[in-house]
């Protein structure tokens, strides 16, 4: 392992690779901040730029764009509640609340520090566990994937507390929206109403931009808007208490993100929501989560970065992309004449380890760049909202167009914006809808495959140890809060009647 580390260091630390890593994280940060342009789009757009480079240099730059854009997406979620990527949606909860309280700089700094911590730990994990984890990931068949998705949906619904019914409705609406178009694994077109634009489904990012960016803008106008934040520069810095409070959630988020990031599909998004749910259950300050707590930023951000790094495990060792962005990167490997798979580690050790070690330097660069820049970025909140929101609308709409160069996406954004506004007005939570939307196609694919494996019998879920454990955990995640509330209510009424008896 140490020989590999040394080899990786020698490759990653060369001035040329460091320079392109720097360029990658910078470009990635800018791209990530633009609504709609997530890491996958960023890597895809800039892939042609790298074609003249050495393969290792090109891949280091593309990986830099990947995690740079994740950081950029977090920045726009925190500052203007406009997520650039699905995995940064959860930051619109506590990150944006922190920003509205004048702690935007602190939220951005926590995001940068948690990302860095996650990057370092997951890098060590990658080096030590890449092969064993890849072997374990091979054990995951459709029933296990289905069980993980059910657990993810159950977790997000369960942490809605009193709003559980509305969360259930929104998760189901998210699933329904994801089913528009030709069915996954079938040839039937669903909910298209004869419109050819709907055959390929509603673009997830366009829906997300509508619900979050447009919906938030309209709700702010309806609510009366928040005054511009006049915080002094030094008030935007991270305090010791905030730093201390974010350490444990960052570690928990890293662990969860690393575990889920290995799974193909929406690992990072699922990990961010699940780590947020976990903090709701275990954090000392869980009552503050949702109102602008650092724990609600540190945990999801760490899990996002850890999941992004872990998604390289199936990509590099099995040739199976762990996320949309690694799927694009897989294409880059092929363009450079490389074949990801178990033999890549033996045939191209300098490339593999150089790329992995470059994650550390890339994240270090991001930290160095973003810690001092966090209060500067936060100055955007000083712009009066009357000028800021028309610009947000402009960027959101052009960003949505840029996803597929299709004007139909603009109408999807508009429709989703109207829906998002009414959701906010009547307190229907957005997070379950987003997760339902992201996981819908994966859920259906796993469901169809599981059904096929069980010859129509879905109880196969309980016949395999991993899927059975995960399914039971999903059922418990839904039932436990309901039962606990009922028990508490019964205890409270028993106590009240006891007191009344004593009084009499």
């Amino acid at each position: 392992m140490f020989d590999n580390l040394q080899l990786g260091l020698e490759t990653a630390i060369s001035p040329e690779n460091l320079l392109w890593c720097f360029v990658g994280v910078m470009l990635g940060t800018v791209i990530g901040m633009l609504p709609g342009l997530g890491s996958a789009t960023g890597v895809a757009i800039l892939l042609p730029v790298t074609l003249g480079m050495e393969p290792v240099t090109a891949l280091i730059m593309l990986a830099g764009i990947y995690y740079g854009s994740q950081y950029g997406a977090s920045t726009s979620s925190i500052l203007i509640s406009t997520p650039g990527d699905s995995s940064s949606v959860v930051l619109t909860l506590d990150g944006y609340q922190m920003a509205r309280k004048g702690r935007a700089g602190a939220a951005l700094a926590v995001a940068a520090l948690s990302s860095f911590l996650a990057a370092v730990i997951s890098l060590i994990g990658l080096m030590a566990l890449a092969r064993p984890i890849a072997d374990l990931a091979l054990e995951f068949g459709p029933p296990e994937n289905l069980a993980v998705i059910l657990l993810g949906l159950a977790t997000i619904v369960s942490f809605a507390g009193e709003n559980m019914l509305r969360s259930l409705i929104m998760a189901a609406v998210g699933l329904l929206i994801s089913m528009v178009g030709v069915a996954s694994g079938f040839t039937t077109a669903r909910f298209t109403f004869g419109n050819v634009n709907l055959l390929s489904g509603l673009d997830f990012v366009a829906v997300m931009i509508g619900i979050f960016a447009i919906g938030e803008v309209l709700q702010q106008i309806h609510r009366g808007g928040d005054p511009p934040i006049r915080a002094r520069f030094r008030d935007l810095m991270l305090t010791k208490d905030e730093f201390r409070r974010s350490i444990a959630p960052a570690f928990r988020g890293t662990g969860l993100g690393f575990g889920l990031g290995v799974l193909p599909g929406a690992g990072a998004t699922l990990a961010t929501f699940m780590s947020y749910g976990l903090e709701k259950q275990v954090s000392k300050n869980r009552k503050e989560i949702g109102k602008g707590a650092v724990e609600g930023v540190a945990a999801p951000e760490a899990s996002n970065n850890a999941a992004a790094n872990a998604s390289f495990i199936p990509t590099l060792s099995l040739g199976i992309p762990g996320s949309g962005t690694t799927a694009v990167l897989l294409g880059a490997f092929v363009i450079f004449g490389l074949q990801p798979g178990p033999q890549l580690f033996d045939q191209q050790p300098d490339l593999v380890w150089g790329l992995l070690v470059s994650f550390f330097f890339g994240n270090l660069l991001l930290l160095i760049l973003n810690l001092p820049l966090a209060p500067v970025f936060a100055q955007v909140l000083r712009v009066p909202y009357s000028y800021l929101y028309p610009i947000i609308l402009f960027m959101a709409l052009i960003g949505a167009f840029a996803i597929g160069n299709n004007t139909f996406a603009l109408w999807v954004v508009f429709g989703a914006g109207v829906f998002g506004y009414f959701m906010k007005r009547f307190d229907f939570p957005a997070a379950p809808l987003v997760l339902g939307l992201v996981l819908g196609p994966l859920l259906e694919r796993s469901l169809v495959q599981t059904s096929s494996m069980g010859r129509g019998n879905l109880l196969i879920l309980f016949e395999r140890p991993i899927s059975a454990t995960l399914t039971v955990a999903a059922i418990l995640a839904i039932l436990a809060p309901v039962l606990l509330r009922a028990v508490r209510r019964r205890r409270r009424s028993a106590l009240t009647s006891e007191r009344e008896e004593i009084r009499q």
Partner: protein
């Protein structure tokens, strides 16, 4: 106002809230019926293309009905809490608008965005969106013309530099073909 879970705390069940929830229930019912039409099960009892739409639709119907019931059962408690939160109707916000003016401003912004999207095939994407920014800042927000024009020009310049020049996005220029 937010709950502990980061979700907004529910207000009193207004008529529109109940109508909205009932509308969702109707969407669920439509999805359920259409899902049944697509076929719940395929050969050998395996999951068909209508299975998940039907299940999701049924979930929406049941959960919406339960929510409507809960809304009215808990109505008194919620209404009492909301009465304490609700600001006075004629109170002016940070934009300097009353509650009625705010509702009208939302409608205006909806209308302007809609009109800007209709304008795209004629004026092109960038010019339509720039016009949208200008109209919102001058007409809805009643800002002075010069800062509004500067804001519009800045947005247009930034979008052009990033999306057209840097990322090479082929933005539609419309029948006018200007930008």
């Amino acid at each position: 106002m937010m709950s502990e879970a980061g979700q907004p705390v529910r207000r009193a069940p207004t008529k529109s809230d109940a109508v909205g929830t009932a509308f969702l229930a109707a969407i669920g019912a439509v999805a359920l019926v259409m899902g049944l039409g697509y076929g719940m099960f395929g050969d050998g009892g395996q999951v068909g293309p209508g299975f998940l739409p039907s299940v999701a639709g049924a979930f929406i119907v049941v959960a919406s009905a339960a929510e409507l019931l809960r809304m009215y059962v808990a109505a008194d408690r919620i209404r009492a809490a909301a009465a304490q939160e609700r600001p006075a109707g004629d109170e002016r916000d940070t934009f300097g608008r009353t509650a009625n003016e705010r509702t009208f401003a939302v409608t205006q912004v909806f209308g302007i965005v809609f009109a800007a999207l209709l304008l795209v095939p004629v004026a092109g994407l960038l010019l339509s969106l720039a016009a949208m920014v200008l109209v919102i800042t001058v007409w809805v927000e009643r800002k002075p013309v010069l800062p509004a024009v500067l804001c519009t020009a800045g947005s247009l310049g930034l979008a052009y530099a990033v999306f057209v020049q840097f990322l090479g996005v082929p933005v539609p220029t419309g029948t006018l073909g200007l930008l």
